[in-house]
Symmetry: D4
Subunit: 164 residues, 8 copies
């Protein structure tokens, strides 16, 4: 994915989640944040999942982004074996519009938080990871501020078209 | 709990779930099914949880009953590391009436089923475990049939009082 | 369906449920579990439904898988007349995304459990039936363990493609 | 309950539903409609439940009122074995505020309708039964019209107090 | 619609509801029940709506079937001005899957019941109207019993195809 | 209630809604807006309800505030017979937390809007009525601006206590 | 948009909401109400959003219509900085059918009301704005009454086609 | 609150949220993280709220924790004016069990993420803030790892009591 050592790990239960999750990767690339992406299934490869989480910090990762759908256990299980912040992306399945995914991820018990974003909001997961990194990186924080200014410009331009 | 080797394991994320989960134990006792009960938290002791599930079958368990609330990952994670049938009990938390618990347990992905019962229905989890054991035990099946006949008698008696 | 005496009965309220329910059959075939499939409607043929449930155990069935949608009464009604474990599959209808089916199946009263799987998850119903049978069949349990290892291999391979 | 032959049957899964269901009885008494009340559990006495429904019409009943909670199968199962109109009352359980009861009763498949009233609305079930009887009874229809006039008077009086 | 004086009135808020509501008409035709169909909007023609309900009984109607979607007020408002039984059909709109329609119709206050059927279930509304009429018409009751027998035959035939 | 001719009408289906609805009255009093309060039930006095709405504008009312619960038809029905803005307050009932009330009020069809406020938010209904009046009354608008400044002061003071 | 000074401001978070929101503009045009339309994003241009709301009254606006989806903060934030009535339109997103948008807009805290209309109901937002203006404009009120009469005529005509 | 310059800001819309939000403070204290707490209401003091967010980073804060209920706009609005990570705590109100709060906070549009925790889970918000800080602080990360080990010990001890 990227050449420098990755600071963000993007994981998902199946490669079928990639069309959703790649928006997280794109957001990270826009900020030149090095990342890795992998399939780490809580239910199909539980031992590897536990290992992934347990080793993430010592491997140099600063943030984990985990996407999952339905009874979505991946973000919460990773959070239980790492001290790093874990960002959960509720992936919507065919039924229930992602409400099951959202509740399975966000409703974590006291002691083990998961930073949850909107249903299907992988791009925001990437941006949240950037903010976490930026909390200790003035340059990155500056770029996030510029990014927010660009959002404003784009919104302005859209209003321009509407007002004409 | 019981002297003969347990065939059913009742586990929960915290001993605060015991008031809910002991109904499962009571149901098993009514059918003289030996069981064990333990706190096995997916989020607070993930390695032990994985170990519990991985060793359950070889330790002689035939069924696992797991209760959990909120982002309830225990039943599904156990199901991912054991070939045994896992029965999930959605424990209701203070908010959302157990809907989060229910969806977190029942909406498992293809490949890893959890046999889910009603919100707070630990007694039914115990009775379902008995049915699973009874599938290969004519005596136990006979007792379940008798139990169902008793349910009928009790319902009859209630109608009697109402009709008077 | 299969030549040896069936140990699993797959029933549904209408043949229009078959596209959903045949995934249960496929899962059983993968484990060489003999099964039968039939239309047994709680609302359109209640007497036959009661008869099916009442005779299932003596006919040699060990597990019943029942799929139904909307006000889904089939799994629960069968569970009330058999001592066997009944697995309920909530079939989603055109509206409400299967939430009505799920609640109608899972929220059974104390005394009569139904082992409920995810909305539309007929494959998992088949796999759960295999686990129930495997609880007393070391060979089948071994095959379930192998199946789980294969799930892991497949997930691994998917990650491989993603990591490249 | 009443001396003349009952024309309405009020049934429920357990006598614990009686505190809810007796409002139906009270409404019928206000209109001098003879009724019977009984415990008829779909899940605990399925054969008797089927028999109750099958014989209701020939026993002279014109309407059946059935209350049930959770996976509420009683109204729908009765409707499947009688040609009479069946009125379903969703009884709320401890969790989910009766939403499970409502969906389990109202979402019946094509062919077998249940006339569903509001969650916990046993009084309205009684009044609906009166309306069904009144459809062919000019006297009763007149009394229902008077009853509606009284509702108006009471509402008026309440406004009076508020306006003062 | 039919030549003899109609005994059932089918009304809806807009002719755009007709594709849903005509299933009610078809069901009534199968039982040779005379009916009328009309657009009677609670929100667009409130005075006419009140008049329709107020005059329904004296015009010879025995049952009113009312379909409405969203904030569905038609069935409940008609029920408030007629002593006849009113059957409400929750018509699903583009969003919310008919849950708004269902709650707006079924959750009527004490005193004014609406006999509610499933979301979009106009056919069942027609069949429920037949049952109401059949409560005092032995012939019609007999035909409903035959209809139920046919449902059974059809379900049987479907099973036949599945078993082959 | 107030001596000058009322410009706001506060109506509700029953005086049991008054404990909720009087917050609307209090808000109006704080702004010296003259109002009237009455019981106007859509389901128990439909003709009077229609009359109330039809005559409201010519009687000098500028805004109607209507509170109702469950299948809450009062706000929408009033909106259908008056050209005035109608503000709907979803009153929560014992079950379903006011979700039925909210959807019954807010989901009005195209052509007949209801200005809906939060579940149980009668105070905000009063304040919204003031804003509607203030749209054409510079004095009242000034007072609303002052009111908002006071809200800020109060919030400030609360922060003060927290910061100490 | 219109030449006379606008009295209604229609704002939305993105021009992608315009297909929804233009129905509000159309409704205003039908009543010859001058309006302006703009993109004012709570999250992408917060300072401009605050400015827009703060200056709206002195710029001559009487009503603000704000459409937003998901975590929809625009209507409520505008209401917090203007004394004018703010009408909120819940725009449905890809998932959750607008339920998130509805709750984010309607559930405002005491002190700051938003007049909420149905999910996607921009046309009704426009009509509600007309009613607010009409509260102090006899001519406009007359036209709203005529508009309601036309709605009746159209509904009548639809019934005509159905009755034939 | 604490003497060293605060790195975490805990804000809420009213001091009535403090009983919920102080669990965040307690968690931070356990890890010796300096914080400040304040009332910053999106709806009652919007300008101050914008100022708080805009200045947070330059004032030295690294993370903002914002709690809000109902139409909960505080976390999202702060996120729109700061490049820092914002953690949102859905505070449950009297009705709807915090579902409105949750959706209002988590469903943020692309570009402006909020790290959402469970309904009422202020403690987890505090722990998530610690994890964010720990991403760049090996000592703090070590303490989080120890904290997780303690959670395990406590869970173990609870199991001990259960097993006896």
């Amino acid at each position: 994915m990227s050449q420098t050592a990755p600071t963000v790990g993007i994981v998902m239960g199946s490669d079928s989640d990639w069309p959703f999750m790649q928006d997280a990767a794109t957001a990270l690339q826009e900020f030149d944040v090095a990342f890795e992406a992998d399939v780490v299934s809580a239910h199909r490869m539980p031992h590897e999942m536990i290992a992934y989480g347990s080793e993430a910090a010592e491997r140099g990762l600063k943030v984990i982004i985990a996407g999952a759908g339905g009874a979505a256990h991946l973000p919460g299980m990773l959070a239980s074996v790492t001290p790093l912040p874990v960002i959960g992306v509720p992936v919507p399945l065919k039924y229930l519009d992602g409400m099951d995914s959202l509740l399975s991820i966000v409703q974590m018990p006291a002691g083990v938080p998961v930073a949850t974003v909107a249903v299907g909001a992988a791009r925001n997961a990437g941006l949240l990871a950037v903010r976490v990194l930026a909390a200790h990186d003035a340059d990155l924080r500056e770029r996030m501020t510029e990014f927010q200014a660009e959002l404003k410009e784009q919104a302005h331009a859209k209003g321009e078209r509407l007002r004409r």
